[in-house]
């Protein structure tokens, strides 16, 4: 006896994953080549970051901790770009540093260099790079008390104290805002526990979309002034700094990728429900 033919609705539940991957790749390529641009409205969380940068007094620095690497570059690089743009536009002096992984400081340095050239900003006067500092909480605790001693040399190996913008910078009181841009868990808790909490230094952050939900409690409690969530947050910052860039392109692609995933889930569930209905009908 031949087995019953597999119904269309059963097949709808078992689309081979290779076809799903091909479909997704096709959607990504389509949107990269023929983008359908839709307006992006900044959220409250993103505005928080922008406003926090604007609120930094001129005699204080912004510290941007770029704790990301190539794996999360698609989200964290545009986030870093837009935060640096906002700093340059509002003429706020900033320093980049990195706690982990080490390659992040070079990637962020390249972004800052390219952006500085556009604004005519000078290294050591308008911005600087403190480099990769090993030690996690030890670095933060030491920095809170004495920044030049804790940081030592900058990205190029020169003593940070010799940079013009570091004149008068002694301890954590010289920092007007910390912006943590990362794809790693655990670092935010250190910044909040050792810098934001005890010294009341304003803190803002930027995360990959996957890890952001876990940090909403900090935003809700006021420990964070604002938060950029994934490429969406970066795209919203691009709207605020009025420079559409990579993040806006990514959002076009992400829109349709989400639509495809939702469509696939609906097809799978339609197949599941209708297959059961038909099987129930046959039994009766």
């Amino acid at each position: 006896m031949q087995p019953p033919p597999i119904s269309f609705w059963h097949r709808a539940q078992q689309i081979p994953r290779h076809y799903i991957y091909l479909l997704l790749a096709a959607v990504v390529v389509w949107q990269l080549l023929f983008p359908i641009r839709l307006p992006i409205a900044p959220s409250v969380a993103t505005r928080g970051v922008y406003d926090a940068i604007a609120a930094v007094p001129d005699d204080q620095l912004i510290l941007i901790s770029t704790d990301w690497d190539a794996s999360t570059e698609a989200e964290t690089a545009p986030q870093t770009q837009t935060v640096i743009e906002a700093c340059f536009q509002q003429k706020k002096r900033f320093c980049i540093m990195n706690l982990q992984p080490p390659m992040g400081v070079k990637l962020a340095h390249d972004i800052a260099q390219k952006t500085a050239a556009r604004y005519g900003a000078r290294y050591g006067v308008d911005w600087c790079n403190w480099g990769y500092k090993y030690g996690y909480d030890n670095v933060l605790m030491a920095m809170a008390k004495n920044i030049p001693k804790a940081i030592g040399g900058d990205f190029y190996g020169k003593p940070v104290a010799s940079l013009p913008m570091m004149e008068g910078v002694k301890d954590v009181k010289s920092i007007g805002l910390v912006v943590e841009i990362t794809g790693l868990s655990g670092l935010t808790e250190m910044w909040i526990g050792l810098i934001q909490g005890p010294y009341r230094v304003p803190f803002a952050s930027a995360y990959t979309a996957v890890m952001a939900p876990g940090y909403y409690p900090f935003l809700d409690s006021g420990q964070m002034k604002g938060m950029l969530v994934g490429a969406k947050g970066a795209a919203e910052m691009e709207v605020l700094v009025k420079r559409p860039g990579k993040a806006t392109d990514i959002m076009n692609v992400q829109s349709w990728a989400h639509v495809l995933i939702i469509a696939l889930i609906l097809v799978g569930n339609a197949g599941y429900v209708l297959a059961r209905v038909r099987a129930g009908g046959r039994e009766r």
Binding site: G183, L184, S185, L194, G197, P198, G214
Partner: protein, 266 residues
């Protein structure tokens, strides 16, 4: 407003001492023979089934300890690993362990060796089966997938700290046809485990693992103590929310001592 977090204030000290006292008291009660109930945890109960599947198929098992080195999460993973090794030894099933931390490697080796010895099968321990793969996140994931594919593991266990590589590991493990059991206290990766694994241990079920698997009075007592502490926290949250709502409604003002106590704990 707000106290320093570099050191504990009096409120935290009192809270910590109270919580620790409850947990230790519960342990003492359990050691004195008091029976304590633990509800079934499907993910942990499935470990026996998972080991049995690998034994029937005559294929090895794979255990991933996640990314971090010697942390609370990884030490708990090693406790679960020790239980699985004892089961594997009893069934003469091979178990391959992959770590992403060179600091953890000697600890994992010792843990596995002791577990085989405790099961009466010290000769079953193979040094090559406890490996350091890489401390780079995705290099670790790809190296582990290579182990799963080349050794055709029938069962995969993922217990420890996992991040973005979790989905890469588990989706490939699923595509290779393995039964998968995962556990991670961090909620970020749980959705990916649920979509790709057969059984998942969620949140603080993870910390209940060693008590659940061994049923030792000390560990069971600790687990019950945790539950009592959690109930007390829920009560504190409700009381605090009620008081804060009342003070907000009464427009108490920033200098109200009760409001300050709620805000900073001292």
């Amino acid at each position: 407003m707000g106290g320093s977090l570099e050191h504990a204030n009096w409120f935290m000290t009192v809270l910590f001492c109270a919580m620790s006292a409850v947990i230790v008291a519960s342990v003492v009660l359990a050691q004195r023979g008091r029976a304590m109930f633990i509800r079934p945890i499907p993910g942990l109960a499935a470990i026996d089934e998972a080991v049995g599947r690998a034994t029937e198929m005559g294929r090895p098992m794979f255990f991933s300890t996640g990314l971090h080195g010697i942390t609370i999460v990884t030490l708990q993973a090693l406790a679960i690993l020790a239980h699985i090794v004892r089961l594997a030894a009893a069934h003469a099933t091979r178990l391959i362990v992959a770590t992403a931390s060179s600091t953890l490697l000697p600890v994992a080796e010792e843990s596995v060796r002791e577990a085989y010895a405790a099961a009466g099968r010290p000769e079953s321990y193979r040094a090559d089966d406890v490996r350091f793969v890489s401390d780079d996140q995705f290099a670790y994931a790809l190296g582990s997938i290579g182990i799963m594919a080349r050794d055709r593991t029938a069962t995969n266990f993922f217990f420890g700290s996992f991040f973005a590589e979790a989905l890469v590991l588990t989706e490939n493990g699923r595509a290779l046809g393995a039964l998968q059991v995962a556990g991670c206290p961090d909620p970020t990766q749980i959705p990916f485990f649920i979509a790709t694994c057969d059984y998942v241990v969620i949140g603080d079920e993870y910390y209940a693992a060693s008590a659940y698997l061994t049923r030792e009075p000390t560990l069971t007592g600790s687990l019950v103590g945790q539950d009592i502490v959690k109930a007390a926290i829920i009560l504190l949250v409700l009381v605090g929310a009620a008081i804060a709502t009342y003070l907000g409604a009464a427009d108490a003002g920033a200098h109200n001592p009760l409001l300050k106590l709620l805000a900073q704990g001292g």
